[in-house]
């Protein structure tokens, strides 16, 4: 069990601004991610969530502002940053097992052919158990459900022993039960391994139990802090630049504005239901 220094900042963004195609996608976004913290990165489509992730991964260079990972300037391929991309369903006939996909997390970036070893197998097994995927790890990966593939990708990311885990919309296309399971799983992993989690979602409601901090993105700007401080009518109205209302309805948080539900209305993990 790692010893945690809860005040240690593992990721620091300082006034990051980025333009893409002449449009300002991120405006002065600042945030501190501390060791072991669970952060929800919340925003509608086009709010800049994926762009922000790509900046943290070093795949996009901000126009101004700085990004530091573990106190050092950012570079691409940093093993301290584990990444679980927004999943695409693999072809059902993909001729590989779940554990082959997971194993790439250990040495997929190295040249050459892998050498099977007891140690490698044990590490893969451990990661599979951590995400409760051991029982389907030998099935062809394309035949697994979206939620099952998601877990394998999390296991793959864990094998690089990251300090920060970035998950891009892991709850999209999952039914409520699977979504809750994934959230609890990620929170548990973060707690047990001292990994800070940055989870991207367009609805914060499934994260309420586990989220320490919310990063609410709108119009390229970010409001950062505990939910009770950030998700308030005054704060969000300022963020959006027009009046919005924050409603608490039967334990759910809704954000309304401009005649629309801006957040929490219909999460698309409720629309699709897998068997």
């Amino acid at each position: 069990m790692p010893i945690l220094d809860h005040d240690a900042t593992v990721l620091r963004l300082d006034r990051v601004t980025l333009q893409l195609g002449g449009r300002e996608v991120l405006r002065e976004v600042s945030l501190d991610l501390r060791a072991g913290e669970f952060v929800g990165l919340i925003g509608a489509n086009g709010a800049g969530k994926t762009t922000l992730l790509r900046v943290i991964l070093g795949l996009l260079r901000p126009g101004s502002g700085t990004v530091e990972v573990l106190g050092r300037p950012l570079r691409r391929g940093n093993r301290a940053v584990g990444y679980v991309p927004q999943k695409q369903q693999l072809d059902p006939d993909t001729p590989l097992r779940g554990r082959d996909l997971v194993g790439l997390g250990i040495d997929g970036h190295r040249w050459g052919v892998p050498f099977p070893s007891a140690k490698r197998r044990a590490r893969i097994e451990e990661a599979l158990r951590a995400v409760d995927a051991a029982h389907y790890a030998d099935a062809p990966v394309g035949r697994l459900s979206g939620g099952e593939q998601q877990r394998l990708l999390i296991a793959q990311a864990l094998l690089a022993e990251p300090k920060i885990l970035l998950l891009d919309e892991p709850l999209a296309n999952l039914d409520i039960r699977s979504a809750n399971e994934v959230v609890r799983l990620v929170a548990r992993i973060g707690r047990e391994r001292g990994v800070s989690v940055l989870l991207v979602a367009h609805d914060m409601n499934p994260l309420m139990e586990v989220m320490d901090t919310v990063v609410y993105l709108a119009e390229g700007r970010a409001a950062v802090g505990p939910v009770a401080e950030v998700v308030r009518t005054e704060v969000l109205s300022k963020l959006y630049g027009y009046p919005v209302d924050v409603l608490h309805v039967r334990g759910r948080i809704l954000v309304l504005g401009g005649g629309e539900v801006l957040m929490g209305g219909h999460a698309d993990h409720e629309v699709h239901a897998h068997g």
Partner: protein, 297 residues
């Protein structure tokens, strides 16, 4: 050995024929290389690109033949150029396939014109389109074998990051894998492999060696190392059996004229594939590809 076997199915004296031993050597290497590369071609959804690259190579082969040069070099040059072009188009599948389709049609048209005005070599069209492994000279055969082995070596170096890029491109990119570079090197290797395969089975059928064996293997096992090994063995067997049958087919009716190797290889490729499909349920169970239900907690 029964006389009818010797006459119609397998004749040991083919091993004392230099053309046949050369064909077995070159064909074997080409089949193995094609199958190994083909595994990734199937995994990356590049079957169409693989076929298109050879068709564009056909124009190079026809051009070289028109100029009185060795068709293989024209073929290989155009295949590689086509692969680099496809690489430059990037990974957006739709756009890439459309652009490739248009260029492919143009290339085939130009190739047809080259063949039409080429009156020196009347057999050029047939050789290019359907292959003639027995007529490749020994020097070329040796070069083909070495180039094939070089392709395999490059692929061995690329293996893990290539698998990573094929399955999880975004994660691979985030981990610092040079995704674009690997994709381009892979396409060049594929171009070389199909150019060589075109010598054995011709431009039109070179995808039989590229796609057939990996598709067969994918039906049997769901693990990369073993799948690649099965694909390679299947490809080499198909090619060697094809060469053998083509050799003894001189004794088949209508006698006096051997049947083309390409016919046998493509038929065997289909045969292996069908058998794999039929065997699949039994095989999958034995190889543990089906989920083994062990609860983790």
């Amino acid at each position: 050995m029964a006389d009818w076997v010797r006459q119609y199915l397998f004749s040991p004296d083919m091993f004392s024929n230099d053309q046949v031993t050369g064909a077995l050597l070159a064909g074997g290497v080409v089949a193995a290389v094609s199958a190994v590369l083909g595994y990734f071609v199937v995994l990356r959804g590049l079957s169409f690109i693989g076929h298109a690259v050879t068709d564009i190579g056909f124009t190079g082969g026809a051009g070289a033949s028109l100029l009185g040069l060795n068709a293989l070099w024209g073929l290989a040059t155009f295949c590689v150029a086509a692969a680099l072009g496809v690489g430059a188009l990037g990974n957006r599948a739709r756009e890439r396939d459309v652009a490739t389709g248009v260029i492919l049609a143009l290339a085939l048209g130009i190739g047809a014109m080259f063949l039409y005005i080429n009156t020196r070599y009347v057999s050029a069209p047939f050789t290019l389109l359907f292959g003639s492994i027995f007529e490749v000279d020994p020097d070329t055969t040796r070069v083909m074998a070495w180039v094939g082995l070089l392709c395999l070596a490059v692929l061995a170096v690329l293996y893990r990051p290539l698998l990573f890029c094929s399955l999880a491109p975004e994660t691979a990119e985030a981990r610092g894998v040079p995704v674009r570079f690997i994709s381009t090197v892979f396409l060049v290797c594929m171009a070389v492999a199909v150019a060589e395969a075109a010598q054995v089975v011709g431009v039109l059928l070179s995808t039989a060696l590229l796609i057939g064996p990996p598709a067969t293997a994918a039906y049997l096992v769901a693990r990369p190392g073993l799948g690649i090994a099965i694909a390679a063995v299947a490809g080499v067997l198909e090619t060697w059996l094809g060469i053998d049958l083509s050799y003894v087919s001189y004794n088949w009716p209508p006698s006096g004229k051997g049947w083309p190797v390409s016919f046998f290889i493509t038929s065997l490729a289909l045969g292996f594939y069908v058998v794999a499909r039929l065997l699949r349920p039994a095989f999958r169970q034995r190889m543990g590809a089906a989920p083994t239900r062990i609860r983790a907690d």
